[in-house]
């Protein structure tokens, strides 16, 4: 004799839960978002596995041969070389390899700088919004003033002065850290304002009062209870911030204040190709430029899509 076992409703897995969200639903209906996201993932993979994928090592001077310099890409007419699909730059480096490594450097600097911005901004924004009063008005005044000086200006001045006082060679070794620090510190107000605005909206809700009555410490309430509710605006500005950080890094490298030519980022690749544009070697500039623009564009498109879907109340003004 058998007993019919009642079908116990299974706990939905994480993946199924995610598939039911509004976010996934609108993602699967938006072709632009899907294409942008796939391109972004592709970039991440290429950057991550650049050392395995690149046919040459652009950091190794032994691989460079000046006889190979300024070879056009394969599809061009003229002296093409089977080894170099995208041609070579003025020093005889394979463009494909330098671009792979350059993307890796640019993305790493962009992501790390934004992580730093986020950390600083969340800490400052949380305390300003939660404690209020004098601390709040002081911190927000500082944020206003810092935002009124453009990031690029501050970064140019700070890096220029470091370069002048360290000398170019020592500076080249420190360039990655300096870029992350400068771009990271200059943009914290963006996060601080956004986080503060959502904290102000959250902090008088009942669950916060309940947590307080239960005797939790302020730091626990801030990080464990309020912060998770401010995540969607943070997500929205993060994509745009990464795009901006990558642009800033490229601009600084273009001015010679960022990555040196020996460890190129996309910006310094464009910069080193610039002088050859007049002699007709356009690919040294144009190919890395296209790679950079597509990366920034997909990040901006993703940011726009997230903004439309999550529709957070972003701090304006």
């Amino acid at each position: 004799m058998s007993i019919d076992v009642l079908a116990i409703p299974q706990q939905p897995t994480r993946w199924q839960q995610f598939k039911d969200t509004h976010l996934f639903h609108s993602f699967s209906r938006d072709r632009v978002a899907m294409v942008s996201f796939s391109i972004f993932v592709l970039y991440l993979l290429l950057a991550l596995f650049a050392p395995l994928l690149a046919p040459f090592d652009p950091y190794d001077p032994a691989m460079m041969d000046i006889m190979d310099s300024e070879i056009p890409p394969l599809w061009q007419e003229g002296d093409v070389d089977e080894r170099f699909w995208l041609g070579t730059d003025a020093q005889g480096r394979d463009m494909l390899s330098t671009i792979l490594y350059g993307t890796r450097t640019s993305l790493m600097i962009g992501l790390c700088a934004v992580a730093l911005q986020m950390l600083l901004g969340i800490m400052i924004g949380l305390s300003a919004g939660y404690f209020g009063g004098k601390i709040d008005s002081f911190l927000m005044r500082v944020a206003d003033i810092q935002l009124s000086f453009s990031t690029l200006m501050v970064a140019i001045v700070v890096l220029a002065i470091f370069q002048a006082s360290f000398g170019a060679e020592l500076y080249a070794d420190l360039a990655v850290i300096m870029l992350i620090l400068v771009i990271g510190i200059a943009e914290w107000p963006q996060y601080a304002r956004t986080v503060r605005a959502s904290v102000l909206a959250e902090k008088h809700k009942e669950y916060v009062d309940a947590a307080r009555v239960m005797g939790f410490k302020s730091s626990r309430i801030m990080w464990r209870h309020i912060l998770p509710n401010t995540l969607s605006p943070i997500l929205v500005i993060s994509t745009v911030q990464v795009a901006n950080a990558i642009i800033s890094e490229a601009s600084l490298s273009f001015l010679g204040l960022g990555m040196p030519v020996s460890q190129p980022s996309l910006g310094s690749l464009i910069s080193s190709g610039f002088e050859y544009i007049f002699s007709g070697s356009w690919w040294i500039t144009v190919i890395p430029a296209v790679v950079l623009v597509v990366l920034v564009l997909v990040m901006n498109l993703l940011g726009d899509w997230l903004r439309d879907v999550l529709n957070p109340k972003l701090y304006k003004g």
């Binding site: 008005s137 005044r141 003033i145 935002l147 009124s148 000086f149 453009s150 690029l152 200006m153 140019i156 001045v157 220029a160 002065i161 370069q163 002048a164 006082s165 795009a243 642009i247 490229a250 601009s251 273009f254 001015l255 010679g256 910006g267 464009i270 610039f274 544009i277 007049f278 007709g280 356009w282 500039t285 144009v286 430029a289 950079l292 623009v293 920034v296 564009l297 901006n300 498109l301 726009d304 304006k316 003004g317």
Partner: protein, 326 residues
């Protein structure tokens, strides 16, 4: 309003003070003024004597006060490279940079308002969609890249426009030589101004569009429509007025940002302005010139921001209430 003005001016003074302090510590730590004066052949004892004489061994505060006192009289030291007062060198290059910013602002104002308003009124037309699509590409291309690519296209490939310098300029007043008054000068201005405008223009189109769309949803616009006012009157008189309020604040900040971007455009186009001069000064470790640039640009930032805030306070009476509560 008076209290607001005074508080805003005080803040401007504090910011200027911090900038001067920073500039001074740069001057104090970057390079050695003695080396520039006497070279290598002077003995250590003589050097010390000279240091005392020049006041380089005085305490920090005394030195700062001397620096600030001189700075207030317009004396920011002598450029090591040009052997001229640093402020004069900067001010001689100022018109070139200002003309660049002016040209770019002109392009931005003339294009962003009509395009932004149109794409807010008719968000679904193909034209608005094209404008929005182009504007997101626009904000994704860095300024220096727009500059490089426009040189490649218009100067190298098509050979229509010049790729560097200011061309013929006409002297108007004092050392102010304008490129706006000659055909050649205008041809030289075109590419740099368009490149400089290229990143701000999409930003403003998007801002004006989203503000305008928000305003069009509001009660008073619905009421105006219900009253049967002509649509053009509603759009351009009632709605546009409130749309422009946030645009003014953002605009003020962006003028400062534009000064930063002039460094990029001036480098690409070898435009003889302040930004190009600043980068050269960095490469030559010409400390007085670096400091003078920082102070002049800091002053431009502070003045524009203060003015924008004050204008905003004048045109938007609710600012006073918000300030009073905070």
């Amino acid at each position: 309003m008076i209290a607001f003005t005074i508080r805003r001016l005080l803040q401007a003074l504090v910011v200027m003070f911090v900038i001067s302090l920073l500039s001074f510590s740069i001057q104090d730590n970057l390079g050695d003024p003695l080396r520039e004066l006497v070279g290598q052949s002077v003995s250590e004892a003589e050097r010390q004597e000279l240091r005392d004489e020049l006041g380089l061994n005085d305490p920090f505060l005394t030195q700062y006060l001397r620096f600030a006192g001189k700075a207030l009289q317009g004396d920011l030291g002598t450029s090591y490279f040009f052997k001229q007062p640093a402020l004069d060198v900067i001010l001689k290059k100022l018109p070139a940079t200002l003309e660049l910013v002016f040209g770019a602002t002109l392009i931005i104002v003339c294009l962003s308002v009509p395009l932004g308003v149109y794409s807010a009124i008719k968000p679904h037309s193909w034209f608005s969609k094209t404008v929005m699509g182009l504007s997101i590409i626009g904000i994704s291309v860095p300024v220096f890249l727009t500059a490089i690519l426009s040189i490649y296209l218009f100067a190298v490939e098509l050979n229509w426009l010049p790729s560097y310098g200011r061309g013929d300029t006409v002297a108007i007043w004092g050392s102010w030589e304008s490129g706006f008054l000659s055909i050649d000068g205008l041809r030289h201005l075109l590419l740099p101004c368009v490149s400089l405008a290229s990143i701000m223009l999409p930003l403003f189109i998007r801002l004006i569009r989203s503000e305008m769309m928000e305003v069009l949803e509001s009660e008073y616009i619905k009421f105006a429509r219900a009253k049967g006012l002509p649509l053009t009157r509603i759009y351009f008189l009632h709605a546009l007025k409130n749309t422009m309020l946030p645009v003014i604040t953002v605009g003020g900040v962006q003028i400062g940002t534009m000064v930063a971007y002039t460094i990029l455009t001036e480098t690409v186009f070898q435009w003889p302005g302040m930004g190009f001069l600043f980068l050269e000064a960095i490469n030559r470790v010409d400390t007085p010139l670096i400091v003078a640039y920082l102070i002049v640009v800091g002053l431009i930032f502070v003045i524009t921001n203060t003015l924008v805030d004050l204008i905003y306070g004048l045109v938007n009476p609710t600012v006073k209430l918000a300030e009073g509560k905070a």
